[in-house]
Symmetry: C2
Subunit: 563 residues, 2 copies
């Protein structure tokens, strides 16, 4: 890597006493008064800690991602009102906050994604974002014009480079998405430090990647970086926080906790000295666990819901979902429903009941056979003597979905969907049946990872999930002696192929070249592609991987590619 | 408007004998062999008509929009193979075709959206698209790098300017989205004509708007424009065709039929003379009608389905949906199911049966009360003595959805969703109940427009929809004497507010300032926003308006804006 600016780290620093506060907050999209109040409270807290400057995240006024609300003039006016209110609070402390701003020229997009520098009641400077992520879940070029001017901000004898999220991510990539580099544009103005206002969503690779990128920036520019991220979830998109300070020596001076709000104050002088390395562990399954708990909790709290309902089948997916829901909402706010059929094994009911008891959640049992038999009587003149097939299987799943929704509508608990990513991928699920639910909890977790998650939960929570549930072969129990492997390859064969196709975007030739069986690969890819219509109609999926189903993966339904 | 290049129209033209074929074809996303064969057939046809050059549409090899398939190397290789095969067919005729091409430099996006000029078995020139629509349903900057070079192509003594769709749409807008204008870049090279390869989706305003834009280009540049569009539907996105030739005198020399494939050949000399004006009528309701029929037909044909099923309630929405399905697929391929309950009026059943007979479609009747009663018996220990509420209402809708899906799963007909745009907007529908279905037929048609569509269908088809169905007050019939107006404002008050909020993106202050009642406006906007979660899980909606629910309108679920 070129290090054109690295010599700057060696110049002598005079004693510096600037104190910088990073505010890692959980915003709520469109909740302008709530977001503003959180920030004003943080300003007070930072003042109390002697901070000269407090930094909030990207688009903190609106929450992220505001999506097409950005097309409403009213929405932008409310964001402007928030910035004004913050400017009034910038009294004895400077405030840096992300918010949309209007593009004054008619050509180009109407808005910028901006960082406002507020001081003494005024907007002292505005720096727009240059690199606008437009891939995966990101649509920023849909709304924003990129910056074409860059200006450091002078503050208490220091020159501050303001950057927004992606602006520092074009360093050290093998295949950069952009042709510009904002810090390269700013370096001739000799900044002393970099602030980065981010809205950088979690996936299980992200915390490590974020640190790699910060270090690459420090290596190139030799400047300290103060990085502030969102924390909390907005529907399917989860932010882990992990705001941090990188010292000019390339070490992480501090990393704020994952999945928690907080305000911390740093002395610039101490940061410049470096010599400290504070990082949190980044193990995949614990991170996924914490992200899912955050995702459930925030979905409920931000929508004003308290209670969840889960259909417990006696299988692993619904067990893991119920445990996560109880962790997120408290056992007293989770109820489960057991809906055995004539095809349910005795073990399924006892195992599910045992789990409910272990969790201390309310559980009810409604056998579906009487309803199923009534459907079959009503359908008899139309089904004639056709053999039992997918129609009767799906009917059972839809009766269960209908019963869960009946309790949801009667008493208000929100139905959680229990489908895992492997099933979502190959369409192994019934639309309007087990695919029901307001939020998909583990739809971005492959079945093989669900096993790992279950083991982790049992370690944490003293074996809450009965071993039977973990040990028995997966089955939808929609016909006698059914096993998932009747229709699907074993998950330890299926999941790696799905991973290559979905996360890695490898085509059939590439995956076969890795040594996977050609017929199996073609069959799996075909199953994924022809089931796009099911995924179109399923609940938002809590995103924990680099490629989740939903807004981040946009596929045509009517297509004939690998189908 | 400035007309800097207009003087060029007055220069003398020498006799020109170039013949240009426009191929307006119905492509299928990812169906490389099918798309290629269609184009090769059109090449043969054009050769037979003496054409020197044939022009296909934007991304014709892949179909439009290919979405994230573009991220697969395998997919791009297949598109490259198609271009190679077309180059081999460019023998005695030149071919212009839209296809993705690779960006050779690492910086920037990996692909261009390109027009290939093929002649004598070779790629003679490649021009990339400059203006990449990234709004509404469009995501082009997600995939493509914009052009930064522009070069006319010399062909048989003429200089041809190649443009792709949006490239000619930055003219004459009050608020241009882009800072560049590709034809301004090309004009110094003195082109003689402009080709435009488009993939420009239908909405009921689009045909008129497209002509306005072509005329604005002719007015500015004084050049003839040969414009080629896709025709047919890709899931929810419908292309109306309307390929055309604009003469340098500003008149539309010819406009190809809407919603039909075709190849037409034009003599450049005749086009240069102008003096002809051929345009088709552009009435809103007939256009919407033709688009919906095309949308249904293409959804089924491209997925390899033949038969549809519709739940007929005796109300207007399901009636209109059934008639459109019968027009699209033939009455013999549509079956309807009547599912009266204890709350259905006698008229509903007779009206629905009369409609089925008028259409000549198979109809069956399954009363839902026995199933409903069985659910209530099973739920009794859980519902205790709670009063009848939305739980019991939704239960009825879900029984109907389950019965429709049972027939769909048993015999294969695809369920069509019958929800209109007004209901979709305010969430007046039951998830997993009447919101079931593989395709939403009238989900982009407001209720007041559904009435107009019904009248139009009755004019066309001799009163196929019984007048009772049109005349009776709308009702979900889920409780005694229910009317839509119990929960909603009358549609003639509701729809204009929805239109201002959804299509026009006006906020509450703006809509109230138009004279609408403040409480009503706030109530309606709140209903729209809090029901985002329902729209997230509903079928793709055939898009006929400038702002349909689905990919073109991206809203957060967990949000607190106007909610």
């Amino acid at each position: 890597m070129q290090r054109p600016y690295l010599t700057r780290t060696t110049r002598p620093h005079k004693r510096q006493h600037m104190k910088i506060a990073l505010a890692q907050l959980n915003y709520h999209i469109g909740n302008f008064s709530g977001n503003l109040q959180k920030m004003l409270d943080a300003v007070d807290q930072a003042k109390g800690m002697g901070a000269d400057l407090i930094v909030f995240a990207e688009l903190a006024t609106t929450g992220y991602p505001p999506r097409d609300f950005l097309e409403f003039d009213d929405f932008i006016r409310l964001a402007e009102d928030s910035v004004e209110a913050l400017a009034r609070a910038a009294d004895g402390i400077a405030i840096v906050v992300g918010s949309p701003s209007r593009n004054p020229v008619p050509e180009g997009k109407d808005l910028y994604n901006s960082a406002f520098f507020l001081e003494d009641g005024c907007v002292k400077a505005v720096q727009h974002k240059t690199l606008l992520p437009t891939y995966d879940i990101f649509d920023e070029y849909r709304y924003f014009e990129p910056a074409s001017r860059w200006q450091v901000v002078a503050f208490r004898g220091k020159r501050i480079a303001l950057t927004i999220c992606e602006d520092i991510w074009n360093i050290g990539n093998e295949n950069p998405l952009y042709t510009r580099c904002p810090l390269d544009e700013l370096m001739p103005q000799q900044p002393d430090l970099v602030l980065n206002l981010s809205a950088s969503p979690f996936d299980y690779t992200h915390a490590a990647e974020r640190i790699r990128i910060l270090k690459a920036n420090v290596a190139r520019y030799g400047l300290p970086i103060f990085y502030v991220n969102h924390v909390g979830a907005q529907t399917e998109i989860i932010f882990d926080g992990g705001s941090m300070v990188a010292a000019p020596d390339g070490r992480i001076f501090d990393e704020m906790p994952y999945f928690e709000e907080g305000v911390r104050v740093y002395d610039l002088d101490e940061v410049m000295q470096g010599g400290v390395q504070r990082e949190q562990p980044k193990e995949k399954i614990p991170l996924i666990h914490d992200a899912l708990v955050t995702g459930i909790r925030n979905y409920f709290h931000k929508l004003g819901f308290r209670q969840a309902i889960v259909g417990l089948s006696g299988g692993l997916d619904s067990a893991v979902t119920a445990v996560l829901a109880a962790e997120a909402l408290g056992g007293q706010n989770v109820r489960v429903l057991l809906m055995p059929s004539q095809f349910s094994s005795e073990g399924s009911v006892t195992d599910a009941r045992q789990l409910a008891q272990n969790l201390g959640v309310q559980y009810d049992l409604i056998p579906i056979e009487p309803i199923y038999q009534q459907y079959m009587r009503s359908l008899e003149p139309h089904f004639w003597a056709t053999p039992f097939n997918v129609a009767e299987e799906n009917l059972q799943a839809r009766i269960r979905g209908t019963l869960l929704m009946a309790l949801s509508n009667k008493y208000g608990p929100i139905l959680l969907n229990t489908t895992n990513k492997s099933e979502m991928a190959v369409g192994y699920g019934t639309l309007y049946g087990d695919l029901c639910g307001g939020l998909s909890v583990i739809g971005d977790v492959y079945k093989t990872e669900v096993y790992e998650l279950a083991e982790y939960l049992n370690e944490r929570l003293g074996g809450v999930i009965p071993q039977n549930i973990i040990a028995k072969p997966p089955s939808a129990e929609l016909r006698p002696h059914q096993k998932d492997t009747d229709s699907l390859p074993p998950y330890d064969q299926l999941d790696p192929i799905l991973y290559q196709y979905i996360e890695r975007r490898q085509g059939p030739a590439e995956i076969i070249a890795m040594g996977y069986d050609e017929r199996l690969v073609r069959r799996v890819l075909r199953m994924v592609n022809i089931n796009e219509f099911k995924r179109y109609q399923t609940a938002p999926v809590l995103r924990v991987s680099p490629k989740a189903f939903g807004m981040g993966r946009r596929m045509p339904i009517v297509a004939k590619y690998l189908a």
